[in-house]
Symmetry: C2
Amino acid sequence: MSANPVEHAFDVSVYMTELGVRAREASAGMAMASSQAKDDALRSIADLLEQGADELKAENRKDLEVGRRNGLDAALLDRLELNDGRIGSMAEGLRQIAALPDPVGEISEMKYRPSGIQVGRMRVPLGVIGIIYESRPNVTADAAGLCLKSGNATIMRGGSEAIHSNRAIARSLRTGLAGAGLPAEAVQVVETTDRAAVGEMLRMKSAIDVIIPRGGKGLISRVSDESLIPVVKHLDGICHVYIDDSADPRMAEAIAFNAKTHRYGVCNAMETLLVAQGVAARILPRLGERYREAGVELRGCPRTCEILAGIREAEEEDWRAEYLAPVLAIRVVDGPDEAIAHINTYGSHHTDSIVTGDYARARRFLREVDSSSVMVNASTRFADGFEYGLGAEIGISTDKLHARGPVGLEGLTTRKFIVLGDGNIRT
Amino acid sequence: MSANPVEHAFDVSVYMTELGVRAREASAGMAMASSQAKDDALRSIADLLEQGADELKAENRKDLEVGRRNGLDAALLDRLELNDGRIGSMAEGLRQIAALPDPVGEISEMKYRPSGIQVGRMRVPLGVIGIIYESRPNVTADAAGLCLKSGNATIMRGGSEAIHSNRAIARSLRTGLAGAGLPAEAVQVVETTDRAAVGEMLRMKSAIDVIIPRGGKGLISRVSDESLIPVVKHLDGICHVYIDDSADPRMAEAIAFNAKTHRYGVCNAMETLLVAQGVAARILPRLGERYREAGVELRGCPRTCEILAGIREAEEEDWRAEYLAPVLAIRVVDGPDEAIAHINTYGSHHTDSIVTGDYARARRFLREVDSSSVMVNASTRFADGFEYGLGAEIGISTDKLHARGPVGLEGLTTRKFIVLGDGNIRT
């Protein structure tokens, strides 16, 4: 590295610019890489991570010690820790990415036009992806792996608390790339812990094509507010299940229970349950009992509180809350109109599901709910790149430009037009 | 309008914010609009423009008078002018948009997953499109028509020199929308000529989903540099034709001549011709003669100048020039390697074409040239939404995020995920 972060007169702007230039140059080589070379690199990185597990754990221990000294809480320290199981999972993840079909070069929609030319699209990499993430060091391998497979270069800025772990993982990434004849510079890890590096990254329009932040809401808000480069992100997962009065009650109960209790701390967990007036008195008592047994705290609208006596009354802010915890807001609504209006007003455009037996209402919900995943008769917990068949997921977008919903390899690419002719000219 | 631009204490920031709120509200109604209502609105706007041609021409004369007083040159005044022919073309354009298939609600790729859910995509509008454009008032109708058809609301900021014309066209747009039962507020025209309005627009992240600038390079650079909102744009059209040594000479000559001389002032005209060393001496003399006859000034690399005696030697800046004029830079290259490297270095990622009889070189050129349109044996002049079968074109993007190449109705939409289940839960 030509800029040494520990040097006295370290200039973060110069350092980041150099890093950007190297990534941009390497991106051209990555775009041309054969499927074989990319898959070889991914499998070789997986092997290197496993073979170097002891060294990696030693580097990780440095991060853990600094973290303990700095008073990181137990949850953060747990996220930071790399053990053999987690290193094995990283390696396995990379091997799974290697086994996915290569999206790059895929040609589609080739059609003849009246002029005689044949026009279609070819899928190509985006170029350079900027990943800004927090403490989990496994993101370094996962995200770089997806970018590598999709023919992109990356600039990765992980949390300073994971710097030793991230550097060690990056060495494997670069060794694996070089071993497969690909540019090692295609993975650039920001090795300075200077916080100004993030600000620099977010202004590097000519070096970075898209920014993907991974982490807590604070990080994502900051990135999204400051970035001059397009950001693929979601801030909240305020997901809803709406139980229509035509719903099969057992199905409704199963989906509403699963969407809340399968996992609490995930963005596709249900946070608000909407129930049609006509079935609330029939469905809520039994469902409420199951939530209570599972230890879920309920907060209801006045109509809900009439049915489920003794629960806390929901405040306005409950409808906007992403609890990520065993807490659920419940609202009784008149029907699909009010349910859709509630979701589009209070939701976060992440994932919302209707449980219904009514064809027209299912169709309407799918069209009118303005979310990145809209479901009929399925648990919101399915909103996930792997469950959707994308093979893997680098994030979920609740925005509309470029990607909406879980983002897999396809979201890390774009399509150019290609034209095949036989000497055609315009007249 | 609640904010009157001519009021004494006019606050452009408040005015733009209000406009943004109205557009955002209207966008929800537009997203739900039926195909029938949208097509009715488009045809009714076309009728209104034709029926109101006299009034429109009267408003346009005000702009022309102010323009003359302010010393606009003849070319600008010509672009500004609306006559019966141009009004008829605007109306015809809207009727053609009405006749296109509705992209909104299109469902694709529905596939069953091992969990039993069926997952696919539904095409939905982007939301609110910000259009910033220069003197041609017809853009008001064309761009608003495409946004309307794709279910989007628009905020339109035209050049101050066309303000009377743009207001008059906007009245027809809003009347046509309302007549079809759609929200008139879906078209917001920035009625102040305060230049700060553009700056405000470029920061309205919560009100506008994407900015599309239409006009000269100065405008597009400014928009692209300042915008906090993603921009769909191209700056330059430095297009190349590469004549490979395996090319059919007559085909090569026809394409190279057409790409340069069919129209000079357009972004998909060829600006640099690359010729393989092996055929340069055979092809250039005859082609040079044809260019000379057509009045095209040639500027060549040293090898070109040896073949075409008496032409001016090209400077480094000629390889980066978008002449938009009867001027052509010519470079003799060793073969496809040097041609591809030249295009990726000096080009603008717009449109580049190879003329070749060689299968492997055609395949390589398609993959390795990093442009939004890459062609084999066809004139660069085909790079156009209409020629590609998109039905119409709101612009061309040389960027990679969201859209690359000509942008039609599809580029004004995105796809959300939809999931159809039978009571599926995650286990």
